[in-house]
């Protein structure tokens, strides 16, 4: 394995600190996208026992919904965000009613549903490819705009992603912490039977879980399109790091997923200080495997929750 920063990497004089700050900024941008994806994946995994391999493709669909609103229709990014949220949330609900609820009622097992989500991922990704083609797209953001404080490079894309995703993540954190709905979700994810005995309307919570999961996935897809580019594979490539975030935070633990997403994003970018950048995804996967081997309940999970 190629260890050591390569000569081709532009490392400014005085290097260490600047490089650390730069990779931290890059990591916060990619990490907040992973966090948005991970919260929804983790809640659905915890509450519905559904390991959704199509979650990355939900994100991609959000990216294309934003693309249609922002580029095809020429509307501002705020409208694009709404478009992404609505499209993916509706998709999540439709699939819940059409597929997942009937399957649960027939007593489908976790691996049976998992394999169905893989089929679903094939269908979604390739319908996107069919409709929009394989070209790489960008949203209508000035790609050249960037600031250079202290020799760092901060692009407009990163500013948009970090601030907007930051606001959404805080809002979701508060929703889960303070509202009755958020508490119900966390309770159900923790222990379904206890939640039901405590009088929680589980059907309603499931509906809102899909709305939240879909909305966040849609936003994550749009932010991914802003942070880098958009293609039919955008979300699929993010899915494994998102799984890493979910596992790191403890499956079903929304806060854990949030922190896990940021952590994976930062670790991947920080790793470029040691390994060549093209290995950074592999670093994320290695973290995933290590966590599962050493602490399968995740950083924040309790041991008794693992089967």
């Amino acid at each position: 394995m190629a260890v050591g920063a390569t000569d081709s990497l532009p490392i400014a004089a005085g290097g260490g600190v600047e490089e650390l700050l730069q990779t931290t900024i890059n990591g916060l941008a990619s990490g907040s996208i992973l966090a948005l994806g991970a919260i929804g994946l983790s809640l659905v995994y915890g509450i519905l026992k559904l390991v959704n391999f199509a979650h990355g493709d939900f994100m991609t669909l959000g990216g294309y919904a934003a693309f249609v609103v922002n580029v095809t229709l020429g509307l501002p990014l705020i409208a694009a965000a709404l478009g992404a949220i609505v499209v993916v949330a509706v998709l999540g609900l439709v699939l819940e009613w059409a597929i997942w609820r009937p399957m649960r009622n027939r007593g489908a097992g976790i691996m049976q549903l998992l394999l169905m989500t893989i089929g679903l991922a094939f269908v979604l990704r390739n319908l996107i490819l069919f409709v929009w083609g394989g070209e790489v797209r960008t949203l209508d953001v000035d790609q050249t705009q960037a600031w250079h404080p202290f020799g760092l490079t901060i692009s407009l894309n990163q500013v948009i992603v970090i601030t907007a995703a930051g606001v959404v993540l805080v809002a979701v954190g508060l929703l889960l912490k303070l509202t009755r709905l958020g508490k119900s979700m966390r309770a159900m994810s923790d222990n379904q039977d206890l939640a039901e005995v405590a009088g929680i309307n589980t059907g309603r919570v499931i509906t809102y879980t899909w709305i939240l999961s879909g909305s966040l996935a849609g936003l994550a897809g749009m932010f991914a399109a802003i942070n880098t580019t958009l293609s039919p594979n955008t979300g699929w490539f993010l899915l494994l790091p998102i799984f890493a975030a979910v596992v790191l935070g403890g499956i079903g633990n929304a806060y854990g997923a949030l922190v896990g997403g940021l952590a994976i994003g930062l670790v991947q970018e920080w790793s470029t200080m040691i390994f060549v950048p093209t290995y950074k995804e592999a670093v994320g996967f290695a973290v995933l495997i290590l966590i599962l081997l050493v602490r399968p309940q995740g950083i924040f999970g309790h041991r008794e929750r693992t089967a």
Binding site: I110, L113, M116, G133, L292, P296
Partner: protein, 313 residues
């Protein structure tokens, strides 16, 4: 000429189907017999393919390259299995796909050895010579064979031998214990069966079979790219397995031909009003729908037995 009538078309589709049949037989051992949901199966095909390719480029004969590739695959399987086989089924699935991606990214990055994104090229030398010898032998007998025939025959002979080996193993106590482990791990352990060792053996065997599929992939393509070994290949094998049925070797063969025809064959067919990349997208939509429909309504597959199905974590 109608592509459906061209020999080259069927030689291509059926060779691809043979590679997938071998690959999926390996997955059948892991998923069908041992209950290990391995989403990283393609990594062992990649390891076998690159091991064979590098051996051929170095000038080693085919008969030496094949066992070398199989050993590489089996060893890699053991290396994956030792730390991960104690994990819960869903965790094992996620870990295995992550491990496979690490393998692919490593192949992509270690350009000096593997060619990276430029591909490992001209991995054919000794195989081409062998193929020429076979063709010359038959033309001496007065039989003129197409260049692609020897590989087509060999891949299906190999698939048959693998199926025969698995069928034979099916009659031994080894596979009975493996199935006992799949059905009830605690019970198998309680009667003193080394559960972990059995799972590891299944993973090593399955991985060696995947490496054999990789060998034939190299012989067919002679150029290897890391993107040949993306997770989608594993999922196509799952589609074959689901279509054919868990626990059924005949099902694997039928499933491999059907899925290969949909996946590889339709690229040669013209569909009025559709561009070729649109057809490419639609055929994967079809495969996705097949997976979903079978999992929903007939999870044991076309030829599988319901009691062989073990899909719960």
């Amino acid at each position: 000429m109608d592509p459906l009538l061209a020999f080259g078309f069927w030689a291509f589709v059926l060779t691809v189907a043979g590679v997938f049949a071998i690959f999926t037989l390996g997955l059948q051992v892991e998923v069908g017999d041992a209950g290990l949901i391995n989403f990283g199966h393609v990594a062992f095909m990649a390891i076998g393919a690159y091991a064979m390719g590098l051996a051929l480029i170095a000038g080693y004969p085919v008969w030496l390259g094949v066992p070398w590739a199989l050993i590489c695959g089996a060893v890699a399987g053991v290396l994956l299995g030792i730390p991960t086989l104690r994990l819960r089924a869903d965790y094992f699935a996620i870990t295995s796909i992550a491990a496979a991606e690490i393998v692919r990214i490593t192949i992509l990055n270690e350009q000096e050895t593997t060619g990276g994104s430029l591909g490992l090229r001209q991995a054919s030398g000794p195989w081409r010579d062998f193929n020429d010898d076979v063709l010359a032998f038959f033309s001496d007998l007065g039989i003129g064979l197409d260049r692609r025939v020897p590989l087509l025959v060999m891949v299906w002979v190999a698939a048959g031998l693998v199926a025969l080996l698995l069928w034979y193993l099916g009659k031994t106590p080894w596979r009975r214990v493996l199935r006992a482990v799949r059905e009830n791990e605690e019970a198998a352990a309680a009667v003193g069966k080394p559960v972990f060792a059995y799972k590891l053996q299944a993973l090593a065997l399955g991985s060696a079979i995947a490496a054999l599929a990789g060998v034939f992939f190299t012989l067919q393509n002679t150029t290897l790219f890391p993107e040949n070994f993306e997770p989608i290949v594993t999922f196509l094998a799952f589609a074959i397995l689901i279509l054919g049925g868990f626990g059924s070797y005949l099902g694997v063969v039928v499933g491999a031909i059907v899925i290969s025809f949909i996946f590889a064959g339709t690229r040669f067919l013209d569909f009025p009003g559709l561009e070729s990349d649109e057809v490419a997208a639609l055929r994967l939509v079809v495969i996705g729908l097949i997976i979903m429909a079978l999992m929903a309504f007939r999870p044991q597959g076309l030829f599988g037995k319901k009691e062989e199905l073990h899909l719960d974590a």
